[in-house]
Symmetry: C2
Subunit: 299 residues, 2 copies
């Protein structure tokens, strides 16, 4: 994990006053990314950075010449209609961009006038997916969650013997992932009550959510090349909240032997703002910080 630096200083304030109220999710120490445009407009989708109740329009800021040097390539990638290219750059260019944004948004910055013209109020924005999602994998993390869910399907054997040895996960459907707040249709599916001889096709009556942490993997690796534990975090761009909508009445009938399918793939929703790993550095527990010092280790 990136070490703490001046962008994490809790005493930093911004010339965007709403960033300093102590209540906002978006103080100058956060600076998450999203893809946005003005609500109801036909503007091009582009990247933005949250600050208080405003969005720094990255396309406008690049046009205004706010960025140069090592931060320019990352700023240009952040201005595109998806964040895929930004995510693929890896942590160093992203860290340069964070430093420049932090300085430009600080109280007293000489770039206030230039950036002020690039702000869009969050109240006027609509959001798109942060990235084209190539593959989506749902990991069965948290032994408490696995035990609770397992009880619904295998009351006498909720936690299987592999759980504590190998990461349990399954591939989900990428194409039905959308943005938090979107409407979607209640799914229909086959339900077989225990006392029925045959299943019936009907709208789900037992809709559920699982609030999960979504991880955007940025830098890739070649097929078949392992990523070491020490290197793993360099491949993570950032985190979102992920709502794994589930049709619990459809799931038990269909899920064996190949796992969750139609009961879990009709819609999944992510929060629009992606919080970078660097922004989260002050929240990492000591063990994570220690692992991340990346002392040489055998590969």
């Amino acid at each position: 994990m990136t070490p703490l630096n001046e962008t994490h200083d809790p005493n930093l304030t911004s010339w965007v006053a709403s960033a300093n109220d102590g209540q906002t999710d978006f103080p100058i120490q956060n600076l998450p990314f999203a893809i946005f445009r003005r609500q109801g407009s036909s503007e091009a989708w582009r990247g933005g950075v949250a600050i208080g109740d405003q969005i720094v329009d990255m396309a406008a800021a690049v046009q205004a010449g706010v960025f140069n040097g090592e931060a320019l390539a990352a700023a240009q990638a952040a201005a595109e209609p998806t964040l895929n290219n930004l995510m693929s750059l890896g942590p160093q260019p992203l860290s340069h961009l964070r430093k420049v944004l932090s300085k430009a948004l600080q109280t007293g910055s000489s770039q206030q006038a230039a950036l002020q013209a690039c702000l869009v109020p969050q109240a006027q924005a609509e959001y798109s997916l942060p990235a084209r999602i190539g593959d989506y994998t749902d990991f069965y993390t948290s032994v408490h969650h696995a035990t609770n869910i397992g009880k619904q399907f295998r009351p006498d054997n909720p936690l299987l013997p592999n759980y504590k040895w190998v990461p349990i996960g399954y591939h989900g459907r990428s194409s039905s992932i959308g943005i938090s707040g979107q409407a979607f249709k209640r799914p229909k599916g086959q339900v077989k009550p225990p006392d029925a001889d045959v299943p019936v096709l009907k709208p789900s009556a037992r809709m559920d959510i699982e609030l999960e942490m979504g991880v955007f993997v940025g830098q890739g690796n070649a097929l078949g090349e392992p990523v070491t534990m020490a290197e793993a975090e360099d491949h993570i761009f950032g985190l979102v909240l992920f709502n794994d909508w589930s049709a619990r009445d459809i799931q038990p009938w269909e899920y064996q032997p190949l796992g969750p399918f139609l009961a879990k793939n009709f819609a999944s929703t992510v929060s629009p703002w992606v919080v970078t790993m660097e922004a989260l550095a002050p929240s990492a527990p000591p063990s994570v910080t220690r692992k991340a010092t990346r002392s040489p280790c055998p590969t």
Copy 2:
């Protein structure tokens, strides 16, 4: 399914002599699509159509002005670096293109000279994936296969009660699908022999293949909008062979409760040539032809 038309006439021959030998997979009645370039070159990837032992370079043919009218849009889409746009056009434009290609490649065609200059020998070609694959779903089709595989994991209960009621499938990993013939690394994974107390990490010693039929879905549908049985085939672009490489020693330990995962997602390979549904029309059993007449039905 598209009705039979003049492109299916078994008596048609081509001015490409190798298409007429009665042995080739690529007579003028087939005309499948691939993405190709000359081996070892840095040429742009583009679409091609197989005829005998040759490939019609669609980018060159569009440049040469071979196409116009209703076939032009499809021909231009077939000249791109992936076939995604061609696949999304649906069956009508594709059928126009097939008719024009069939006429231009027939013995005696006035376009022989123009198209001759657009041929690349298959022996000199290398192939890329036909399309960017957004999602990949593996269906557990064939009751015989399901019973045989089921016996490996549940000898006393190979076929579960849902099998004959609901399509059983799981989402696979799109990003590890490649082209037939590619080399890939033998996967490593956790294996737990029945008599061992704990699993061990080792290279798979029980590599297996499942030879499957791969279906490229072309035209999409809006999220939550069902596709009727009568309309289903209009959403299918064509078929490939699909090799579902499987690590059978890794699979039993990891696959419960969420289904196949690392034992099946390290590499999957497809044949480069996609055979269109229209080319397959003469091979459809009578029941399929009947269903495909698309009499009005309630939605």
